[in-house]
């Protein structure tokens, strides 16, 4: 019965993805230990992790798809749904809250016309909440893609978003 499941088409990973994943595996005692790395790497190239990617990672690491999914659904930074070209993560933890993060979040929602967890119509932005970004001394902070942005306010938002198409 196990053999028949190989009949299914296993979606493939790109050469870069495989290379990066294998590089992580090289540091680890077994392939399965690279599950989170593999998810992160695939997401780096594709923006998110689809069911097909889950199956492909499972195949590469010798695991079952649901075992990968179990891991993927645990971690905050692994997206199992498509996201926009840019991901905005608004810190909602204590220091930023004290410094007005709610206003920033509201302004972002108004400006982009989306709620938390949603993507703009034009696919430009996905808005997500995030826990403390470690920028508490310059709160409120947000992160867009890999950029940490300090002292955001309703007023300077336009300026902040400009660079992200």
């Amino acid at each position: 019965m196990s053999e028949s499941s190989t009949m299914q088409l296993i979606p493939t990973l790109s050469d870069e993805e495989r290379r990066d994943i294998e590089a992580e595996i090289a540091h680890l005692p077994d392939r399965q230990s690279a599950a989170i790395d593999a998810l992160r790497i695939v997401q780096k190239y594709r923006g998110w992790v689809s069911d097909e990617s889950v199956a492909a990672i499972a195949d590469l690491l010798g695991m079952s798809p649901v075992a990968i999914d179990s891991i993927a659904t645990f971690y905050n930074l692994i997206f199992r749904k498509p996201v926009g070209r840019n991901v905005i993560m608004v810190c909602d933890s204590v220091s930023c809250f004290i410094m007005g993060a709610d206003d920033v979040k509201q302004a972002l929602m108004d400006k982009l016309g989306v709620d938390l967890g949603q993507t703009t119509q034009d696919d430009r932005f996905t808005l997500l909440p995030i826990v403390c970004l470690g920028a508490c001394d310059r709160a409120p902070a947000i992160m867009i893609n890999e950029d940490l942005i300090y002292k955001v306010s309703a007023e300077n938002l336009d300026e902040v978003l400009k660079g992200y198409e």
Binding site: S2, E3, S4, S5, M7, S64, P65, V66, A67, T73
Partner: protein, 911 residues
Amino acid sequence: MPKIIIDNKEYEVADGDNLLQACLSRGIDLPYFCWHPAMGSVGACRQCAVVQYQDENDERGRIVMGCMTPVSEGLRISVDANNAVNFRASVIEWLMLNHPHDCPVCEEGGECHLQDMTVMTGHTSRRYTGKKRTFENQYLGPFINHEMNRCITCYRCVRYYKDYAGGTDLQALGSRNRMYFGRTEPGVLESEFSGNLVEVCPTGVFTNKPFSESYTRKWDLQSAPSVCMGCAVGCNTSPGERYGNLKRIQNRYNEDINSYFLCDRGRFGSGYVNSEKRIRNAGLRCEDGSFEIIDKTDALNRFAAIVKDNKLIGIGSPRASVESNYALRALVGEANYCAGFSDAEAPLVDLAIDLSQGHGKRAPTLKRVEAADAVLLLGEDVSNTAPRLALSLRQTSRNVSKEMAGPASIPLWQDAGVRGHAQSALTPVYSASVLPTRLEDICTDSICTTPERIAYLGNCITQLIEGKSVELDEADMAFVNGAAQALKSASNPLVVSGTSLLNEAVLHAAAQITEALKALAQEPDLLLCFAEVNSVGAGLITGALSMHSALKKLTDGSVDTAIVLENDLYRRAESEKVAAALSAASQVVGLDVVENATLEQATLVLPAASFAETEGCCINYEGRAQQFYQVYEPQGDIMAAWAWVAGISKESTETDVREKLISDCAIELPCLSRLTHLNRMAGQSGRTAAKIPRQTHRFSGRTAMNANVSVHEPRTSEDVNSPFSFSMEGDSAAQPGDLAPYVWAPGWNSNQSVTQYQEHAGGALRGAADAVFVSHAASTTTLEKTGPIFGKASGKVREGGAGLCLVPVYCVFGSDELSAHTSEMQARAGRARISLNPQDAKALHVKTGDGLYCSTGEITPGQSYEVLVSASMQQGFVGLVQGAAYLPAGAWVSFVRDENWARQPEVIARG
């Protein structure tokens, strides 16, 4: 045995226990969810909280989890301390925040561990006013319902399914208070042990789907201790009946065999008992070939007349009880009796009994299997032929992790710790099989080859164990050498094989290895699997006739009448030969449970009782004789096959026909002499009051059940011959644990109440009688050992014959005759499959999913099989799944591509 103080009282507890286990063992109710006696502790639910005190002066103490705290001499704890009581009530309150309170419509209601624990902690009123979380459920196949909203996140399902049973398609998904236990997408649960989820889940998330379809509360079921008919392991079961239908099978704890778990064939394979194909009345064949229903007396008279006036042969059956087989043999005489095996299987059964049980040997119990420290599986695909054994072998493979835990001071019940510390370290398990097995993931090394070659490699292992050398290619050498070293260095090595490949050399090879290991002064075990529930019993009730000689006697007219007992002969010999013999006979009396091809040619059909409707005894692979008891009285004119047969014989006036049969059998067949020890009526005079009730004390509607027929309360039937009554009255409290029809204790309504029946939580049942083993004294077999590499063939190539050589392959769903008549089994079995080497597939122009049919007539012509191309299959051989037809193992057959074959979408394997 350390002494601990629980609420100011001193108790002696078992060394190495945790506090929860200790409390439960001493009859102290301590609620829990995530702990399971077979799976240990993880400390997730926090329900088993107790207060532990530092020393005599400590008044406050601190809360610890019972399941995560080891007992130690002088330890002082309290179960009743206020903060422990209140904390436990809080845990239930938290669990109830999102639980839907849908008990009235929940299949678990009335036997729900969550209900029990809620009552036990006294949490009664609701303070949470918010919304409840909801989930979507998944389709999980024909066996299991999924209702995630009821989940209390105890993690037991995944711990069981994944960690214990090795399933790969069910997982914990999500996090925080959005935990989801399911699959990536809806689909059939792949594990053949999925049904245990029903009992493992403490609430109604995973429920028994066929049972749900005509649902009955636990308290309305009538039950009796029974034995699974699915294979020769002989797991203990508790079937439940209502309104004349067998409703479900639950696990019945037996420390030595199935403990807490059954396979899905056992749990879901009994639907045939209620099926439309069920025979409920006697039938007399008419001129036009149809059957006329006749009443019981008429049937008995006609049967008696046939027996009196004709020259008879009797054909018994490995799926019929000892009583039925013996009754038939007694009726026709040994000279005219055939035990009912195919000619290929019969000598192997004899051999296997002799090798594993002869000379006072005894095959290991599953409990002992789980203690082995090296395993060799030689030829037997146990996941499909003795499934519960496969589940035990998974536990065996973890023994090394338990060994590693000691030095790191990890208690063995600390499940996550033991697993995490050992990582992927596994006890050596080597497997040689025809096709990859479902135990591949626990195998140190495995090899797929032909039966002959398996025997050959087995012999090479013996050579190496004996310190001789062998010459093999690299892969074979690695396997053989690895296996030999592992077995040699083990103190309890185990060799598992069986009759399924119908290959004598394989059995010899397995026995040789065990013998060779004995010379190393260890305690090697040999476990040989048999095909059917009573293969061993039928094998010991010998007859002078082989299947072919029996059929020949009919064909050539030397006898004119056959009595066929619970056996579809079309599974035991070539169809033309069976057809010819049955049509040559002037009288064929067929006794059986459901319709089959043999009965279609019978002249008189007698409705035989299923295991649920009568009593009987079967002998498992160990030689353990086990009795199953009547659960309910059958409908129509159904009677036990032995009752039909004995009913026409002289002693029919005896009250206990069965007891007489057993005692006669014990006298006539010395190897079965111990069967008389099975009688549990000793000291019970038949007084109803002293009997064990089959019905629960909450059994409802005795008057109303048949109110559409009669408004009078029906008289309960008397049962003078068993320890049980057909009523709710009786003494259910003092019953011996092994005679409990169902488990139910004060405060404990779910099947988890079995703990209340055990001497020690997770241990032996209280008051259980000693197991009865038949003894097969004299041995006739001399192990073959000739030539440089002894055994029959090198197995490298199979010579002679044209076409492909047939190898039998088994499937837990569908290969067993009776359970295959159950619709859920059929759904799970899918189409009959044939496995081919890619080269052979190419030559036949087929791919996986295409159809092939046999063109040489050796196997049922016209039947097509779905092709499964597998590189593991040796070229020149085909693996054919044992289904409804006779499979001439080792025969040469030709196949042709079926042009009309419709490919089926992959449903089962999806996901």
